[in-house]
Each structure stands twice: as C-alpha cells, then as structure tokens.
C-alpha cells in the first residue's frame, strides 16, 4: 500500500519532469509557467497535508506562510540582497518562527477555535502586508529572481522549473519519512484519539506544534519559489481565499496521503485556467464567472468525494 503510493509519487514526478520537453515540442512556453505554478502549490499543499491530513487540524491560515516566504524574498531584494543562498534560508526560518508563534497560541485550543484562530492570524498578516507602505502596501513589491552561483540561473525558465520540481520531490520524500516515523505515528495517534494518547504518555501539544512549524517552514519555501515565479511579492498571496484554495487542493487530491495534494494542486490549477476557457466557449462572457460552477463543485466534492483523486485512482483501497 505504501509501496503503491511511492510508485504513484514517482510516476507523477517523472511526468512533471517531462513537461519542459513537451512545452518545447508543442511550442507552448506558457505551459512551463503553468506547471511551475502547479509544482509550487503542490509543495504548499503537501506541507498543509502534514497538519491537516496527518495531524487532523483544520488550519485555515496556511497561505500566511506562503506570503511570509514571498515577503522574505521581496524585502531582501528591496534591500539589495538578491542571493538565493540568503533568501531561501531566511524564508524558511522566518515562516518557521511565525508558525511557532501562531501555533503556540492556536494549538492550545482545538476544533472550531483552531479553524477560526488560524484564519484570523492569516488575516492579520494580510492586513500587516497592506499597511507596510515601505514595502509596496496594497500592491506589494517587485522581486527579481534569486541569484545562485554561476551555472544556476533561475531566470532560465527551465532551470527554475527543475528547481521547483526538486523541492517538491524532496518534500514528498521527507514527508513520507516523517509520517512513517515514530513522530508521525504519534501525530496520527493524536488525530485519532487525543485523550488516550496523552494518557499513554505523549505530550500532544509539543508534537502538534512541531508538525505545525515544519509545515509552516516548508510552505515558506514554497512562498519563496512563488515570489520568484511571479517576480513579485504581494499581500494578495496571503488573502484568506488562498488558504481556502490550499485546503481545496488537499481535499480534492486526498487528505492524509501526501500524493493526493500534488494531484489536487494539479487539478486545481488546471481547472482554474481551463474551466473558464471551457465556459467561455459555451457562452461568451461566461468564462470569467467560472466560480459559479466551481463553488457548487466544491460542495459536491465535500459531500461525495471522501478519498479524493487518489481514491479514484485506486478504488476500493481502504485505509
């Protein structure tokens, strides 16, 4: 079963690796950007799955870390610090520290409180971004691509794409190790029966906080990549709908599977760009209103699609 998942991971990674070639062959350079977006959201969704799927904690503020990672890149760039060797570690570190602070407060509660508190903190950071006039306020700020050493040049779309792919592969690998370790078992035990786990001798809060920090830091890395992709960092990355979208990706793909969120990110980005085109073809002018269709689709997914896309790929596989 776990072997199955690994195979699916590899299949996906190999397919992703073929995208630059395909884009070149089809003469559609736009595809490379689109799929780089898929990869970055996949990293973010995988990180969210660690706390949402394995920890059972519905965090509705995960986009905050995407934003923090982006701001780390943008702010350093604005101060003429363009090196990726500085920007990426700072992005990971700062989002990890932010996750520590947010987790410290929100993990003391549970259930509905946790959902609302994470949402509120993300909104706080969103407004903070808007109020930072020095860093572009509402509009955000420009950030050229991070500089690494000589042969690596992120301005090269293909190189950037493969960097994102490598980070995704690494996240999946580390994530798998994590959830199958003793730590991962304890984290899932807390999801299943918190009270029992505590009486067995596990300080649940510490485990959850650690998972929250790891997830936040990883999402910060995705945020740094996202700012690089857009060559821009702005508060809109932290908008609460973005947090909602990350949750959508995780559920769409399959909660608590790590592979699922990758599929979910792929499905989401493709839907986002092609659903509107399809609707536009149906009725002129309707394409921009694709969310009228997408919204009810999510309700249907919530009602019927328990296992997500991963479940569809392997029907009848119970866990």
């Amino acid at each position: 079963m776990i072997g199955d998942r690994r195979r699916l991971d590899w299949t996906l990674l190999v397919l992703f690796a073929g995208v630059p070639g395909a884009a070149l062959a089809l003469d559609e350079p736009y595809l490379l950007d689109l799929f780089a977006r898929v990869l970055i959201f996949a990293i973010a969704a995988v990180s969210l799955d660690l706390i949402l799927g394995y920890g059972g904690l519905v965090s509705f503020g995960h986009a905050a870390f995407l934003g923090i990672g982006g701001y780390a890149v943008g702010m350093l760039y604005q101060h003429d610090l363009g090196s990726g060797f500085l920007q990426f570690p700072v992005a990971v570190l700062v989002s990890g520290v932010a996750a520590l602070a947010i987790g410290w407060v929100s993990l003391r509660t549970g259930g509905l409180y946790f959902i609302m508190i994470t949402l509120a903190f993300a909104q706080m950071l969103y407004y903070l971004g808007i109020s930072l006039k020095v860093y572009g306020g509402d509009d955000g700020m420009r950030a050229r691509r991070s500089e690494f050493f000589a042969p690596i040049d992120l301005n090269d779309q293909t190189q950037f794409y493969y960097l994102a792919l490598a980070v995704l592969a690494l996240s999946l690998w580390l994530g798998r190790r994590l959830v199958n370790s003793r730590f991962g078992l304890a984290l899932q035990g807390a999801r299943s029966n918190e009270r029992r786990l505590r009486v067995l001798g596990v300080p649940v809060f510490r485990y959850r906080l650690t998972a929250f920090v790891i997830a936040g830091a990883l999402c910060g890395l995705a945020g740094a990549l996202f700012a690089n992709l857009n060559e821009y960092a702005s508060p809109s990355t932290m908008h609460w709908t973005r947090s909602g979208e990350l949750i959508v990706m995780v559920i769409l793909g399959g909660v608590g599977t790590l592979t699922g969120p990758v599929l979910g990110a792929l499905a989401f980005v493709l839907l986002e760009s092609y659903l509107s085109e399809a609707l536009e073809a149906l009725a002129s002018g309707f394409g921009q209103h694709w969310q009228v269709v997408f919204g009810p689709l999510l309700v249907a997914v919530a009602l019927f699609a328990r296992g997500g896309l991963v479940g569809l790929l392997r029907p009848g596989r119970g866990e």
């Binding site: 003793r182 078992l185 304890a186 299943s192 505590r198 596990v202 300080p203």
Partner: protein, 258 residues
C-alpha cells in the same frame, strides 16, 4: 518492582454546584488491589481522571510513591509509572491492533521525537509490541483494525496498552463492563495474574469480580469514602449495605446496586 503506593490528601473537585470529590483522604499500599465501588454518579471515574492527570483537582494533594504529583500533566504521570484503561474502551480505532500497542510502547520509551526511521520497521518497537500482544492473547489479530475487534478483544487491547512499560500503578475503569460471561471470566483471570505485580485501583460494578479480586474495597458515595476495608469488612458494614448494596447479599449477584 511490584507497584508503588498512592496517597490522597483532602482531594476535592467540583463541577459548578456538583461535588464530584469531597475532601477525600485515601491510601493504597504498594502492590495492593484496591476496588472502588459506589452507585453511578459517585465520582469514581472523575477520581480516576484526577489520578491519571486528565483532570486537575480544585484542592488537595496526590502523592505517588511518596512524591507529590498533583501538578504533573497526564503524560508526565504516565512516564512515572501510572497506566490507565478506560470505561467503554478508548483505542485508536482506525489503526491496526499492532500500531495501537506500538504507540503505547514508543510513548513509554520516553519521547517519540524521532523523525527519520520508519516506526514500523523498528525492531525494538515491534518486538516489545508483539510481546505485549502475546501476553494479551491478541497476537493473531495484530494486523486487524482495532475498531473491527469484538468488544471483549477491544477491552483486552485497552488493558494491554495500559500495561505497556509495567506501570507501578494501574487505574482500571470498569474492565468487566459489557462483557459476556465467558469474557468476564477471562478478564478476572487476567486481573488475577496482574495482582501483586502492580498496585491496582479497580473501578467495577461487577460485585462478584470485586469481592473475588480485591484486597481492600472503598465505597464512594457523592465523592466521599463512606467505608474502606477488606471484602469481609465491607460485606458486614451496615452503613454500606444500607447506602449502596441494599439488603441483598452481595456475593453471587452481578451489577448490584447499579
């Protein structure tokens, strides 16, 4: 090691206007099996939860092996050697039976801050977990989902998890509840085997089992201990008979007063 003593001093717990534990002072000797009986709502489970650290008392102290543990959290107390089973069982229902015990084993091993090695390929973890399952007679069910076990098997698993790491004090909350006649006999036999190896606080409504197993019995009514003594003392105690056991002789009658 064969258990450690427990002492409560003036322990009190209120819920709003309801008194669950009323200035309870109480002692259990090392290695003793001490049954706690009383009508529903007497505060038995609430007391166990204060002993395990899930609830904190409003006042009073809890001494375990001479050490004041009143302020310690549940997980710290477990590591000191207090194990607990739950009323109506409390498992990781969607986990395998083996994973349930694995969690207990790794928890008792101190901390589980190990991010790297696959837990399911950890030989030390697996061996300890299997040994525990064998003792509980559940090794043939190791790969089954815990939620799919029969009620009797779930109770045995619940107990097996509490036993991991040989706790010096065992808190058992109605281990007999809901068991059939045969399963009850098996559970009594299992508890007999445990007797003397741990100090045990047994909350139970099955009077046959209680009078058969207990070294001493305490009767709890509205959070107060109205009597403590050997089974013979309790059987003879007029106040207890009036307040709790009724007039019928306790021996041979199941679920008396429940």
């Amino acid at each position: 090691m064969s258990g450690a003593g427990l002492a409560l001093v003036d322990l009190s717990k209120h819920f709003g206007g309801v008194i669950a534990t009323d200035r309870l002072t109480w002692q259990i000797a090392a290695g003793e099996l001490h049954a706690l009986i009383g009508p529903n709502g007497a505060g038995k489970t609430t007391l166990l939860s204060q002993l395990s650290g899930e609830l904190s008392p409003d006042a009073g102290r809890i001494l375990f092996d001479g050490r004041d543990i009143t302020a310690l959290s549940a997980d710290r107390r477990t590591l000191l050697g207090i194990g607990r089973s739950f009323q109506g069982t409390s498992l990781f229902a969607e986990f395998s039976v083996l994973d349930n015990v694995r969690l207990a084993v790794q928890a008792r091993a101190g901390h589980s801050f190990r991010f790297w090695r696959a837990a399911r390929q950890d030989a030390a973890l697996n061996q300890a977990a299997f040994a525990q399952l064998r003792e509980a007679g559940l090794d043939h069910r190791a790969q089954a989902t815990a939620g799919s076990l029969s009620h009797g098997e779930q109770r045995q698993l619940d107990l097996a998890m509490a036993l991991v790491g040989r706790p010096r004090l065992l808190l058992l909350d109605e281990p007999m509840a809901g068991l059939g006649a045969e399963e009850s006999l098996a559970m009594v036999a299992r508890l007999k085997a445990l007797k003397g190896r741990h100090s045990i606080v047994l909350v139970e409504h099955d009077m046959t089992a209680v009078f058969e197993l207990a070294d001493r019995i305490t009767v709890l009514v509205y959070g107060r201990a109205i009597a403590t003594g050997t089974p013979a003392d309790i059987r003879a105690n007029a106040e207890v008979r009036a307040a709790y056991l009724g007039e019928a002789p306790p021996a041979g009658e199941r679920h008396a007063g429940a």
